[in-house]
Assembly symmetry: C2
Homo-oligomer: 335 residues x 2
């Protein structure tokens, strides 16, 4: 079937293309009766305007991009949910891109978005991003950018995060209150502010309770899961193995479970574990894991909201929002 366009409608109605266009856009110039006729035929023929012609003309794509490191992760999944709901409300379309924690891919993707494909970008940085020239480029092109969750302090733009420092502090404090003496911290990329802030919370909590900070209990994990696995195994095989672990991300907590299973270590009796996690279902199924849970859905919504504000006002805003995360204790668990 031939796709129906303005010309087609105009011919059938004995009107000019521009009149039809105006009628469809509800212009005040057009006679009510004409509008009615146009709208009638349009809906009868299932007319849909060609989005790209319109984008080209209006220099507006009605599309945003979401760039995230991975999707098999409950936080991002919930955030997308929030983002999509706001986008749909604004009549916007959502493009999704995965970097797989690869900085080069992140650069590539942002390059694809340089020329009008999107009106704005929501982004969570990949863990090995250190240089931000690709983002400067977006800035120059006046494409609004909002960071969420994984932000960098080295690049100024609007951002939506959780209270990472406070959460890290509380998580550590919780382990201390459970009687842990040797608390390890599994951290990800030191470039990301979530890594830095959560760790600072850990450090300050230890200080507060006068527990010596031991560098050998801080495990700097990588973006390679198998490497992390080995690091965690080494940690748990030491004779003075930690009695508490604070994992900065869910994935590392899962790794702990795997290692503990292999080493026949009981969680939470022999090792207490606490982690950032949004895996609601897993947390439910697994009563021994106390989690720090972020309001991922709301974070997505807020980030989208800020982005649309920026798009509307045509100003790159430096708005920033911080959400509280919650420490969720599971019933019938020592931890």
């Amino acid at each position: 079937m031939k796709t129906v366009n303005l010309k087609e409608l105009a011919e059938q109605l004995n009107l000019s293309v521009s009149t039809v266009s105006k009628a469809l856009n509800d212009s005040y110039e057009i006679n009510f009766e004409t509008k009615r006729r146009v709208l009638e035929l349009a809906s009868a023929l299932h007319y849909q305007p060609n989005p790209y012609a319109s984008s080209l003309r209006k220099q507006k794509s009605k599309t945003i991009a979401v760039i995230i490191p991975e999707i098999a992760n409950n936080f991002f999944t919930l955030a997308i949910n929030g983002i999509e709901s706001i986008a749909q409300k604004h009549g916007y379309h959502v493009l999704i891109y995965l970097t797989h924690e690869d900085y080069n891919k992140e650069v590539e993707i942002t390059q694809l978005l340089q020329n009008g494909r999107v009106d704005g970008i929501l982004m969570s940085l990949s863990s090995n991003s250190t240089d931000y020239a690709h983002l400067q480029e977006l800035n120059k092109k006046m494409i609004p950018l909002v960071f969420f969750d994984r932000v960098s302090d080295d690049f100024a733009t609007a951002r939506v995060t959780t209270d990472d420092y406070e959460s890290g502090y509380k998580a550590t404090e919780h382990l201390i209150e459970q009687g842990c003496k040797r608390i390890a911290h599994l951290t990800i990329s030191k470039n990301l502010s979530i890594g830095k802030k959560r760790m600072q919370g850990y450090i300050d909590a230890l200080n507060k309770y006068q527990i010596p900070l031991r560098d050998d209990l801080i495990v700097r994990c990588t973006d390679d899961a198998s490497v992390n696995y080995v690091l965690i195994k080494q940690l748990l095989q030491r004779k003075d193995r930690p009695d508490g672990i604070f994992a900065s991300v869910e994935k590392l907590a899962i790794n702990c479970y795997q290692v503990c299973a292999e080493l026949d270590l009981n969680i939470p009796k022999e090792v207490k574990l606490i982690s950032f996690s949004n895996l609601e279902t897993a947390a439910f199924l697994c009563p021994s894991l106390t989690t720090i849970t972020q309001p991922a859905f709301d974070i997505g919504k807020e980030a989208a909201y800020i982005l649309f504000e920026a798009i509307k006002s045509k100003k790159i805003q430096n708005h920033s929002a911080v959400f509280k995360s919650a420490l969720i204790k599971r019933k019938s668990t020592g931890c």
Copy 2:
């Protein structure tokens, strides 16, 4: 910063717009030296072609849409991963749309895609879709459509699924082998083939082992979680409560966990549970849940692959692929 376009490049190089265009597209007509000059300036100025102008001209969007009922679901999450990887390989962009199991939204979304926004669509039906006029419309417009996972037998198009019948049979058989006598089945929408086929497997397995099929053990769940919760609670509060449950989707299994926790029923001692599930991490954390796991990533990849074949060949193919799912038993569990 002004966005740089072909005209800009042409002026700076003292060439015509079309020559520049050809050079950038590596046309054989263009002199090597000219190409070099063009490419040099283009990269110096970070030239990126306007995708919508090109789409308009070529009538190709280099974009596909993925329409799914929800995203907070490990199956879809993994499938998107697979889809995105193939799309990226083909230089395609991925639009994502969530129907939230709402048929009307499904219709709305497909309408938005009628006029060239995408070159093809990947779709998992919402559970209450019964009418397919909106899909016929896509068909007429020659937009390739590939179903994955949630397909309908009432609409003919390419599809990628798992061996739902066989999986349902095996799941039920597994419970029988564990000694279950009263096996309940929690099913979703009867419109979807996954619902029908998994249930048929259940029925046939019972027959095979000469266990009477009891209609009161088949719980037809809805798309309203709170209703399902009540239904499951009623099921488990009966004096002749089931000793085994086969949940057709993960979400319903989670509901079972919640209800059992509330009723102080032990899983798997008092009630054995088996479910379709792709929640790898949960399955790991929860050794008492045996799962039927689908190769979601590969299903996504295959669906995308078929779609790109259709786009390339400009033929709407009726290719269909069936993947095996795996029954994954957890260690140290009676079920």
